[in-house]
Symmetry: C3
Subunit: 265 residues, 3 copies
């Protein structure tokens, strides 16, 4: 069974920096199977990185190693960590990148990546993805024991994340990401919407725009209509059928989204 | 011989959606070899998807499985199909994506992808690429028999495609795609140009722009000249030598291109 | 040990042209491991291609085959070459793409890629990456002997590259590339800066902008400050801490950068 190592970075879709990491990994483990998750996390945007990991890494086989480089603090005292969260394994700067995963599934193991014997012999001050994280991932994929990486750690760094407010008849959330189709993804999850009616009596509002009903799929409404639906990551999404909601609504990450409905009578 | 599975989507070059599909595939067949064809088909542009498949998949080894997700009708009654066309195998929504391939090489097998036992246990309404097409591809790559997918189908959905008009002394086609260098690719093929002279007596016109002669390579004309040539996919292309014809000519997909020549005397 | 073949091109991050090359390679060697270095070299920019190769290919395992397609002269008499430079192997048009590598590490072998028996049976005039370089790489990865490719060559084409000027108390270089974070990478290397003081007495200037001191990492200065530091490829870089220096300074490749310092007393 080949070892799978994924890469998630903010290097940009056209950057060659990820290839340097791949070269380092393949130099240590030529049989590693490398998969790009994305290199288009917005520069230094730890929150978007955390969301991508939470949505995407769950689909990989048990034991997959996910290397994550969204690292505005590179060269500072910020730690690099190894964590086992559910059946997946992660190597990342300890800056909040793993906090959504860790909130959902308690990490079973957390270690500091602190033992230079596992790194490249020379470590630059600005590219720890290549010089520390890539060789550590490659060595783990070859069977390096986890306790060799560094001392155990109690807990990962958390990010303050705006909480969704739930009151009777109302849910107040916000847009947390925008996908490549311009669909607006919110922090309002399927769980939060349990018991909320789905028909025309539900109003979903974002800024001055509103729509009624929560649907299953884009095709449930006519072209060019604003629609609210439960998206493929089980979050409430706002979309314009057949068009780009981001552009049409001028929407941005952080914009409030509210769901309101009349009391059951 | 490892099983090769390619992905062609409109998710955008930076999207992590393709990685979720890769995770699903590797969870079922960890030895699958995954190749990205492109994730930059313009959103929901089935025609551009059909063109990319027709140009690119022919270069892959016999038996390669091509998974294609350009799926504006996801969640509607549109079918998903499995098709064997020439030596290649395809899994795609039946919305015309395969029609250029099928026009050139009659499909030998077409099946509906209709048997939920081959899918993920839970299927979302908006991401059948991950929940249906990826697991079906992975299972086929592990030897699943094709008749298990669903019932046979007579014919694939066709797209109305503007026909190239051929009359003595004149070919009327149009721009069907524009590559990343800004070269304008037409629907006028090498076959259609058989017997047409290649010298200065041939006029190729696009809007108010014209050029004379049909060449082999960009270097056959000086820098900054508009040139017509037979491109690498055997279609007539218009290019500006050393520059970007799309920008310089303000060209768009759909613009008419005519080739005219005087009668042989 | 699987054979690793990398691709570096100017096809654009969304282009399917690279996939056609991968299909050709896998048709000849289904076990080849394919790694993308980048497909976002600016169109026909041989200099940027040369820089990417020099920075990135050194991280790959010994014997890796690097196929490079930045080829404005495709279809002209420009040669295609195979070169062994240090422990790496390259296939590229002989247009200067390999000159930075060859300046640093003398090539041990250079051959013309001139023997059509190693190519695809049909060769287009405009896509030698697919029709010549890909099959040659695949055949080399299967053990084809190098002398079968074509005759030996004495030297690779060189590019005129502006020389960095070193005088006592002053180094005059320029910006040679800009990374995806907007950091400005110069041709002033760590070697050239040996013996130069690093403290506040050193002035680094770019156009009307200046900064004092040469640092190790972005975090050594406050947010929104212009900082000079030795980057991960051992070149002097200019960055805006937490922001994009390219945009903030309106910087471009080619802009002069000078380092000045007072004489030791």
């Amino acid at each position: 069974m080949p070892a799978i190592i994924t890469l998630t970075t903010d290097f940009g879709a056209g950057s060659a920096y990820a290839a340097a990491m791949k070269g380092v990994i393949l130099s240590i483990n030529p049989s590693a199977v490398l998969v790009d998750i994305t290199h288009a996390v917005p520069p230094q945007d730890v929150r978007q990185g955390a969301l991508v990991l939470d949505d995407t890494t769950r689909w990989f086989p048990e034991g997959t190693l996910h290397v994550v480089v969204v690292d505005p603090g590179v060269g500072t005292a910020r730690r690099i960590v190894y964590a086992e969260i559910g059946p997946q394994r992660y190597i990342a700067p300890d800056n909040g990148l793993l906090c959504l995963l860790a909130r959902r599934l308690r990490p079973s193991t957390i270690r500091a990546v602190a033992e230079p014997a596992c790194w490249l012999p020379e470590v630059s001050a600005t590219f720890h993805g290549r010089d520390i994280m890539a060789p550590v991932a490659a060595r783990l994929s070859m069977g390096l024991e986890v306790h060799r990486l560094g001392p155990p750690i109690d807990r990962l760094v958390e990010l303050d994340w705006p909480e969704v407010r739930l009151v009777p008849g109302k849910i107040e959330g916000s847009i947390i990401s925008i996908d490549s189709f311009g669909n607006l993804v919110t922090d309002i999850t399927a769980e939060m919407l349990e018991g909320v009616p789905r028909g025309e009596q539900v109003r979903v509002a974002c800024g001055e725009h509103e729509t009624f009903g929560i649907f299953h799929t884009y095709a449930d409404q006519p072209e060019m209509t604003l629609i609210a639906l439960l998206g493929s990551s089980n979050r409430l999404e706002l979309a314009i059928v057949g068009d780009n909601a981001k552009i049409m609504l001028g929407a941005k990450v952080g914009l409030p989204v509210t769901v309101t409905w009349p009391p059951a009578t």
